[in-house]
């Protein structure tokens, strides 16, 4: 009897131990938390087309999930909602919504976030949102914290709060006591009172999205420093000095490299084979804390200077690159076609060229760096310009994109950053490391202060990214000043691309990272032996190595012969003496 009891006790212990182990094992718990939200964004726009506003929203939401879909409010069916965990309604314009949509919303059990117009058509869940008067504000505060954000003066609609309504964001005029609710929530329904996602207001909205999605990210700010526009004619001296400073401070960084420099007047191509000193510096950077980023192939399309020109956008026509640079071409508009299908067929035809052009440039860029032992880990388009289709093509080659993103195919100037690291659906799986603090403008005396001044706005989002870039040709002194400032930022985790999981998949070169190491698979025959400049460069390297060995052996021989000579002179003197 006693024995039996003991056996039972053992079983109880075992079960208890198992239970606590599961509880304490963070990975088991995390698995529950990591379950990705499935988000459906329903939008209402003037023309029914998705535009840059939705893409900007994409940037913000994709911080929390990679499962996001966009749908026109006219096209939503009930079945579209069955698997979604979060619904976002974005009314960019006032419009009568289909009655079924209202019904669907009402019946929907998950979280809903409504933005802008038409909230009154979203059913009883949004009955708590009662618009009052229009008010003018120039400051936003997050209710539960002391986080405030100054914004350009704007008119907003004050929302009346009823019982049980939680205010997430208040708006006010600076220095005035009175505040007006701007973003509110009640149970699982949230409302944001602006009809657009302006980047000046976005950081606080982004911060509040953590509450909407109920995901508690740690208050740690990722950051990066990028050295910009390094091409074969870049002076290696300041670059080397800057690299040493960063190494000393143990800060990982990125270097955006353009592999070919083309002189706009003479058309002369300069490659890294012509700049062995610079190449040496870049290789050392790659070995130390730096990561190479491919910044285009020549950083130009049509005759413009490398580093100045656009490469993946036709600025003259303000269109994606649809035809060879020297051809005369006038892009036709939708109005030029009798049917929409004809227009789409026309654009698809143009896209064939765009794909070929873009892939060629990307592959050449990767090859040109790999030729000389430089392995890019991410991509940054020259002037951040690229079409939506361009991003789609690029996503087959790179897993990581750095910089700002162009969010419209109509105008390259519509581009944006994001407040935090995200993976918007229009980047087709690429991870975006946005650029938030800007750069040092040589003409601006207060450039460093201006740049650093942005840090508080960024920190409004709990995991906002602090990222800045610097042109090495400005010299190492200026960089030292900047670095001293950046180094004082607290709670920053500097991104080391080598330590994140990135991959690059070129036609001839595959790169990925593993435990902080760059692993490569290079078709050497294709990239080195198929071009003269690299071949000559490598032969030159070998010759120079052999020459140094010869010098070494020769010097030893010289020393020996001098010794022998003195030996004989001494001996001869002894005989004579």
């Amino acid at each position: 009897m006693k024995k039996k009891l003991k056996r039972n006790e053992i079983w109880v212990y075992i079960i208890l131990i198992c239970f606590f182990t599961i509880l304490q094992n963070p990975s088991v718990l995390a698995a529950k938390e990591i379950e990705e939200p499935k988000v459906l964004v329903i939008y209402t726009t003037k023309d029914g087309e998705l535009n840059h506003e939705q893409r900007y929203l994409d940037l913000l939401i994709s911080h929390f999930t990679s499962d996001i879909q966009f749908m026109n409010s006219d096209n939503v069916k009930k079945s579209d909602l069955t698997t979604t965990t979060h619904l976002v309604y974005f009314g960019q314009t006032a419009k009568l919504l289909p009655a079924e949509l209202t019904k669907m919303m009402e019946e929907y059990e998950g979280t809903i976030l409504a933005i802008g117009y038409n909230s009154e058509q979203l059913g009883s869940r949004f009955a708590f949102v009662k618009p009052l008067n229009e008010v003018t504000i120039n400051q936003l505060q997050k209710k539960t914290t002391d986080k405030t954000l100054d914004i350009p003066e704007i008119n907003a609609v004050e929302i009346e709060i009823s019982d049980g309504t939680e205010v997430l964001i208040n708006g006010s005029m600076r220095g005035e006591e009175r505040s007006y609710p701007i973003m509110v929530g009640k149970r699982e329904s949230y409302y944001y009172g602006f009809d657009n996602i302006d980047s000046s207001r976005a950081t606080l909205f982004a911060e509040s999205l953590h509450d909407v999605f109920n995901i508690e990210h740690d208050e740690i700010y990722p950051g990066y420093i990028r050295l910009e526009d390094v091409h074969p004619l870049t002076d290696p001296k300041p670059l080397k000095e800057i690299a040493l400073m960063l190494k000393e401070k143990n800060i990982p960084y990125m270097v955006a490299v353009i592999p070919i420099y083309i002189n706009p007047i003479t058309g002369k191509r300069t490659t890294f084979a012509d700049s062995p000193e610079l190449l040496k510096v870049l290789k050392q950077i790659q070995k130390d804390g730096g990561s190479i980023i491919l910044h285009g192939y020549t950083h130009q399309y049509r005759a413009s200077e490398t580093g100045e020109g656009f490469e993946f956008w036709d600025v003259e026509n303000n269109s994606p690159i649809y035809f060879p640079e020297h051809e005369k071409f006038k892009l036709k508009e939708l109005e030029d076609f009798s049917t929409r299908d004809e227009y789409i067929a026309y654009i698809n035809e143009l896209k064939v060229y765009e794909r070929e052009y873009t892939e060629t440039k990307i592959n050449k860029g990767i090859d040109e760096l790999a030729k000389y032992g430089l392995y890019p880990l991410a991509f940054e388009a020259p002037h951040y310009t690229m079409s939506q289709y361009g991003y789609e093509i690029l996503s087959g080659y790179f897993s990581t994109y750095v910089g700002q993103v162009q969010i419209s195919d109509k105008d390259w100037e519509i581009m944006s950053d994001a407040p935090y690291i995200t993976s918007p659906s229009f980047l087709h799986g690429m991870n975006l490391l946005p650029e938030t603090m800007g750069y040092i403008d040589p003409d601006d005396e207060n450039a460093i202060q201006n740049l650093m001044g942005k840090r508080e706005r960024i920190r409004v989002a709990r995991d906002g990214i602090l990222s800045a870039f610097y042109h090495p040709y400005l010299g190492s002194e200026k960089f030292k000043e900047l670095l001293n400032e950046l180094d004082q930022l607290t709670n920053v985790s500097w991104i080391d691309l080598k330590k994140t999981n990135v991959w690059v998949n070129g036609k001839n070169v595959s790169i990925h990272t593993e435990n902080g190491e760059i692993i490569t698979d290079v078709n050497r025959y294709k990239i080195i032996y198929s071009s003269w400049d690299a071949l000559i460069y490598y032969i030159g390297q070998i010759v120079s190595l052999v020459a140094w060995i010869l010098v070494g052996i020769g010097s030893i021989a010289v020393c020996m012969f001098i010794m022998f000579t003195f030996h004989f002179i001494k001996k001869n003197k002894q005989i004579e003496g």
Partner: protein
């Protein structure tokens, strides 16, 4: 090339420390001394031949085992008469006068004629301007006697008129370096030496087997060396056997003499390069390639770099010459200087301040002349091959060189 030379020089240095050991093994009873025939070809050598014969009289070797055969090769001066006078006076001196059609065929021809009259087991060859030291023959003969694998043995030659003028000083320095670096060095590492045309001994049996000298070869000595190696023998370098010879005192004479050597070496390269697979002794291949490198590759390299240098002076080519090429140039120069200095210091009273300064100068002057010399030699050889002057050219060349003293070393 730089490293190969340094390597050879190291060998020369080691040999200079070692060769005296071989000397100690040469203790042979006089009865066992081999019979020696000395061959001295002379073509219009009336100025120097008497001194040469005088030095032969002083040779420290049993006279009953010695014969001196002086070949008067078609001389038009008093050479024949001088030789005849000595022949009458001394029993072991023989005069051989070549008679057409065998006359005037050059040094090889004369040697072949002299060889016919010789009776010695060992044949020693001297140029007509040579004055060997009394022990030279003894060292050569006993050296061959004691070293069965040696088909031939080569002594050292020194310049008798070294202090006459700058040219002879330069030649003196060059010959010392050549012998310690190329001859002693190659001997030490590869058991390989080139017969220098004078002051060497060769076994009669070998000459008979080879059928004498190649009368088409301008540098019959190099050519003979290769054939000796091909038989499986080696050629020993033995610095203890010393001869003194006269070197050209005028640049014109020097130029002609050197052009002949260069052409001779080119002939040898061309003769054997395409038959390398037939050569039995693979060590010779090193030598042929060495010549090939010196005469074609190194030479073209030097030419190109000179041209680039000159062009660069006139027009900035924007060459990004790395530090390494300067380092190489400097190393090359230092190697040259130290190698030559080491060779000089091996001889007594040669390593003087004056000679040191000449060495510094030599690199930029004397050594550069050599490049021009090769140009001329290549041109002449090309002309010869293109015009197929194979048989006739040697004779005409001889007539055109009245000052030539036939002193090939």
């Amino acid at each position: 090339m730089l490293i190969y030379h340094a390597f050879l020089m190291l060998g020369g240095y080691l040999h200079s420390l070692k060769y005296r050991e071989f000397k100690r093994t040469l203790k042979v009873s006089k009865k066992a001394y081999p019979k020696v025939s000395i061959l001295i070809p002379a073509h219009n050598e009336e100025i120097v031949i008497e001194d040469t014969i005088q030095s032969m009289l002083k040779i420290n070797y049993p006279k009953e085992k010695l014969e001196v055969i002086i070949i008067n090769d078609n001389s038009t001066d008093q050479t024949g008469a001088i030789i005849d006078r000595y022949e009458k006076e001394f029993s072991y001196i023989r005069a051989v006068h070549t008679i057409p059609p065998y006359a005037g065929k050059g040094k090889s021809g004369a040697l072949n004629q002299g060889f016919k009259y010789s009776t010695g087991d060992i044949i020693v060859v001297y140029d007509a301007d040579n004055t060997p030291e009394p022990d030279a023959i003894l060292n050569l003969a006993l050296g061959l006697l004691k070293d069965e694998k040696a088909g031939a043995i080569v002594g050292k030659f020194r310049v008798i008129n070294a202090n006459k003028n700058l040219l002879t000083r330069l030649i003196n320095i060059e010959t010392l370096t050549f012998q310690w670096l190329a001859q002693a060095g190659r001997w030490f590492w590869f058991k390989m030496t080139t017969i220098p045309g004078t002051n060497f001994a060769i076994r009669r049996s070998i000459l008979e087997e080879l059928g004498g000298w190649d009368e088409n070869a301008l540098s019959e000595d190099t050519e003979l060396s290769i054939r000796v190696y091909n038989l499986g023998y080696y050629i020993r370098f033995f610095p203890e056997a010393v001869t003194w010879e006269q070197e050209p005192e005028k640049i014109r004479v020097w130029w002609r003499q050197r052009t002949r050597w260069a052409r001779g070496n080119l002939y040898v390269i061309l003769k054997y390069l395409f038959q390398i697979h037939k050569l039995k002794n693979k060590k010779v291949v090193i030598d042929i390639f060495y010549f090939l490198f010196t005469y074609f590759l190194f030479f073209s390299g030097a030419m190109i770099s000179h041209i680039i240098f000159v062009v660069n002076l006139i027009y900035d080519l924007k060459l990004s010459i790395g530090i390494v090429s300067y380092a190489l140039l400097i190393t090359g120069f230092l190697l040259f200087v130290t190698e030559v200095c080491l060779a000089l210091s091996m001889e007594k009273k040669q390593y003087t301040t004056k000679n040191f300064l000449i060495v510094l100068l030599m690199y930029f002057t004397y050594s550069q002349l050599w490049i021009l010399l090769v140009v001329q030699a290549v041109l002449l050889e090309t002309k010869r091959i293109l015009l197929k002057q194979e048989v006739k050219w040697y004779k005409t060349q001889r007539f055109k060189q009245p000052e030539e003293k036939g002193n090939s070393a």
